[in-house]
């Protein structure tokens, strides 16, 4: 029991250390640059305690739950040898985790008002809603395809460089032709799709797959799924902007 408490204390200290840079930056700018006191000090400290607690629990849960299940499922699929099911699983994981992502919903709504102001769509609530929904499905589909593509790459052992560089070339090419309003949103949508729960799961899936297939190196073949998940949305969103 005493050991468990000690371990908890130690990981809380580690979380506090992770947050220290933010605290230093905020305090320095508020006091030294603006020369103003910190507002609501009590609430601030309370919030900080919550952040430390939350981070500690999250890291614990990561190593107990998310990593093991991601890897054990990857091993099970590899043993089962059914590529079709693995691909269906990869697609649902990508699509399912993205469609409900709050950051994506916010960005899609923002994008709809940009498009309405730019005269791309009508400025009615209905038109905006359907545009935003279309965008959300586009991004979710693209993440689904991205995870599938990444999984196929691991199975085949293709090298990632040429695929990513090819993707970059496509992004650059499409930037030239896509409507100006959509470009910024498209570039940003690559970043917002990968949430705090998806990243550990997808990483564990990739590493698990690469380590259970003979001839694959988990370091070279296991990583890279997230790279696809942030590249493909850019391409899909620009395509969406060009079609609408």
């Amino acid at each position: 029991m005493k050991n468990a408490f000690w371990a908890l204390f130690k990981s809380m200290a580690a979380s506090l250390r992770d947050l220290a840079p933010i605290i230093i930056v905020v305090v320095f700018f508020q006091l030294a640059v603006f020369g103003q006191p910190l507002p609501n000090l009590a609430e601030l400290l309370m919030g900080l305690l919550f952040v430390v607690l939350g981070l500690t629990f999250f890291i614990y849960g990561l190593e107990m739950g998310l990593f093991p299940i991601g890897e054990s499922m990857a091993h099970a699929f590899a043993r089962k040898g059914s590529v079709l099911w693995l691909i269906i699983f990869a697609f649902s994981l990508g699509f399912g985790t993205t469609i409900a992502e709050p950051a994506l919903i916010a960005v899609a709504a923002e994008a709809a008002s940009v498009a309405a102001n730019g005269g791309v769509i009508e400025a009615t609530l209905n038109a905006k809603q359907s545009y935003a929904n279309g965008l959300r499905y586009t991004v979710a589909l693209s993440v689904g395809f991205a995870i599938v593509l990444g999984v196929i790459r691991i199975l085949k052992g293709w090298s990632i460089q040429y695929m990513i560089i090819g993707g970059y070339c496509l992004v650059v090419l499409m930037t030239v032709f896509a409507p100006k309003e959509i470009v910024g949103i498209a570039y940003d949508s690559g970043g917002v799709t990968t949430s705090t729960i998806t990243v550990p799961l997808v990483t564990a899936l990739g590493v698990g797959l690469a380590s259970s297939i003979r001839g694959r190196n988990p370091m070279i073949d296991g990583f890279g799924l997230i790279a696809f998940a942030s590249l493909l949305p850019m391409i899909f969103v620009m395509a969406y902007g060009m079609v609408i």
Partner: protein, 258 residues
């Protein structure tokens, strides 16, 4: 406070539910095998949900209000040009030096606290057998985000077109890919996507929109976006640079040992 906690708990549950359904659905109907250590996995999930809930409520209470306040203060003309001075039509980019410094500092510090980056760093450390240090990777990524965001704020102030920055960045990445150690390349590409989630995005978005609103001649709708793209591009370069640097140091050490 309690209400906040419950609300956030519910929305976190809503986020996790589809993921849990997919995982357990495939486990039961396709793999058809009991989950090893089911009890631990379930407890782990509960921890993740509790952890995220506390984390988000804490951020909402402590960090975001003050972060937004500071972004507002930093970009307000009163702060940049002094109380009485008139705002010039064409701004000198040097006037905004505090913005760049703040962007660098906040980009670095929020990335160090980003939970998904911790997850990837732990995994990379495991898989590489300790060759890639947890801290080495985190600091490399954080430096990349810091440089990316401060360049992004400079772009908003100067009004230069984003494409040139991004395309130049891509060219750099392509060149670096051929010279960097093979082992690091996939991880470096991944690190672009993991940097921008719970902590960084809200603060950075506030900074970008505030800046685009206050700099004369900028349009928040066109110029406010794009900071996140900068924050996901530069870590790719900095992680490869980190690997190149440690390879170079190793070689030199070996040489001097001979």
């Amino acid at each position: 406070m309690l209400l906040n906690l419950i609300e956030t708990l519910l929305s976190t549950l809503k986020d996790v539910l589809p993921i849990a359904l997919i995982l357990f659905g495939f486990q039961i109907f396709v793999i058809r095998r009991p989950i090893a250590n089911l009890k631990n996995v379930v407890i782990g999930f509960v921890y993740v949900i509790i952890g995220l809930t506390f984390f988000l409520v804490g951020l909402e209470k402590a960090l975001f209000p003050i972060g937004r306040l500071m972004a507002d203060q930093l970009t307000s003309p009163d702060f940049i040009f002094g109380d009485s001075a008139a705002v010039p039509d064409v701004v000198n980019w040097m006037d905004y030096y505090w913005v760049y410094i703040f962007a660098f500092a906040i980009g670095f510090s929020t990335t160090i606290a980003e939970p998904s980056l911790m997850a990837v760093a732990i995994k990379a450390n495991d898989v590489s057998g300790g060759a890639i240090g947890v801290w080495g990777l985190r600091i490399a990524v954080a430096l990349g985000v810091a440089i990316g965001i401060s360049l992004g704020t400079y772009r908003i102030v100067s009004g230069l077109s984003m494409h040139y920055f991004i395309i130049t960045g891509y060219i750099f990445v392509v060149i670096q890919t051929f010279y960097a150690p093979k082992m690091i390349v996939p991880l470096a590409y991944d690190s672009g996507g993991v940097t921008t989630s719970t902590v960084t995005v809200p603060l950075v978005a506030a900074l970008g929109l505030g800046l685009a609103e206050s700099v004369p001649g900028r349009n928040p709708l066109l110029d406010g976006f794009g900071l996140i793209a900068f924050a996901s591009l530069f870590p790719v370069m900095s992680v490869m640079a980190y690997a190149q640097l440690s390879e170079y140091m190793n070689k030199r050490e070996k040489k001097s040992a001979k």
